[in-house]
Symmetry: C2
Subunit: 271 residues, 2 copies
């Protein structure tokens, strides 16, 4: 598969890279259709936020041009971008100045079961809790052991996704998706100020819902509120929106706002 | 510098490695003298614990043999071992079966200022807090952004180390060291059940102090208790023990138990 490091075709990386050593970097996953990366501006905005948080000096225009050129070569599939602080010597102190490294990898588009979008998914209730770290909340950094542990909790194909809560039991997100609930016509998604990844599809749906005049809330969501919701769905930038139809013996119907936002997501992704 | 991947001389790694993608792995830093890795059995014991926690199937005897062979080639310096879950496809789910990867790198021994061991060090009071994640506490995994952020808080050579607390303000450790206090003749070090790395020198000093009949406590340590301590010191497996003489305007004398344990550490490390 196509793979670039710093703009050059390469599949091998220095063992001194700080992405490997400490997870010192960020990543992003972009759908690519007809040679074009999807939701590119939102992806770049989130990367810029991540770079600011981690003090990674990465030029946006360089990144944009590289993503566009790589996607053009790919044609279609999934583009994974990793940005790291580059090579380091031993020790946590970052080299000054550091040479930020860009790693781009192409992969085939995953083939999700059609039933996920059509009838909804079951969530596995993960026991792995998300630790609260406001300095890293929201950004898509490379420290992802919590997601690895959570994803290892289930093997059955019955579950398309897993629900993750924080240490105090608040609902935060799914393992590789964001989560929304609809309650009394209002759209609510967990605030991601303590933990969680603020996905680009989440940002897009929040913006579009507001434009539609829907009341949109980013706030804490308890497990009881989740169970009491009228509609529940998950989203990400590859599959769009999946209704959630079940979790630990609780069922939800697939509701009209979920379908409306699913259609918007499909439209954005050209499905 | 000498570098092996899976027993073969190599300095380049697949960009598909899950250590890079998610920090899905462990590391260890071993001093090497006269071709022998220091505190090897304790290092292996901690690696075994880490492998169990992350469900990494890594054979201890293979690891031991490789560390011994690599150290023999090095002669002296610092040996860094990284264990990852090997290559993965896109997504958090681990490949079944996975092929654990071993990466060994040699580096020169850092030249610490002699004054650190002789007169003690100043700690920088880091604002970065350690998030509480019991599933990952104690082990030396590759998700180290908190340490990267903490280490970036100071540039002045005045500080040899930085103090790290958890979100509720409990004292946990230093950025690349463990921390001990002496209070009324008792030796106390923070319990590392919520966060922190349980270093091999920490384990060694706890064992040795118990053998000397010293009362040893692993428990929560408040900032107020730290300030009220008779003696404070930090330790790791490379430099041994450094007395802590200052933190944010507070001073401690270098006490007799610190000196006793420093001598034990020096003896272990052959200093």
């Amino acid at each position: 598969m196509l793979s670039w490091i710093d703009g050059q075709s390469a599949e091998l990386l220095s063992v001194k890279d700080r992405g490997l050593a400490y997870g010192d970097g960020l990543f992003a996953t972009l759908g690519v259709r007809h040679g074009v990366p999807q939701l590119l501006e939102r992806q770049l905005a989130r990367l810029a936020l991540g770079c600011r948080r981690l003090a990674l000096p990465c030029e946006q225009s360089l990144l944009r041009n590289e993503l566009l050129a790589f996607a053009a070569q790919m044609g279609g599939g999934v583009l994974k971008l990793i940005i790291t602080r580059g090579d380091g010597q031993r020790g946590y102190a970052a080299p000054q100045p550091c040479q930020v490294r860009r790693i781009l990898q192409a992969a085939p588009r995953p083939s999700y079961p059609a039933v996920n979008a059509a009838h909804g998914v079951q969530l596995f209730p993960c026991l792995t809790r998300l630790a609260e770290q406001p300095l890293l909340a929201g950004i898509k950094h490379l420290n992802r052991l919590e997601q690895v542990l959570a994803r290892a909790e289930w093997q059955s194909d019955m579950y398309a996704e897993g629900l993750m809560c924080d240490a105090t039991g608040r609902v935060v997100e799914a393992v590789y998706s964001n989560l929304f609930v609809v309650q009394a016509g209002q759209l609510l998604t967990p605030a991601l100020t303590r933990c969680g990844v603020a996905g680009v599809m989440r940002a897009e749906l929040l913006a579009q819902a507001m434009q539609l005049g829907i009341t949109v809330l980013e706030q804490d969501l308890s497990y009881a509120q989740l169970l009491a919701a009228d509609e529940v769905f998950v989203c990400n930038s590859l599959y769009g929106v999946w209704p959630v139809c079940g979790l630990a013996g609780h069922d939800w119907p697939v509701g009209p706002l979920t379908r409306k936002l699913q259609a918007i997501a499909d439209d954005l992704l050209g499905c």
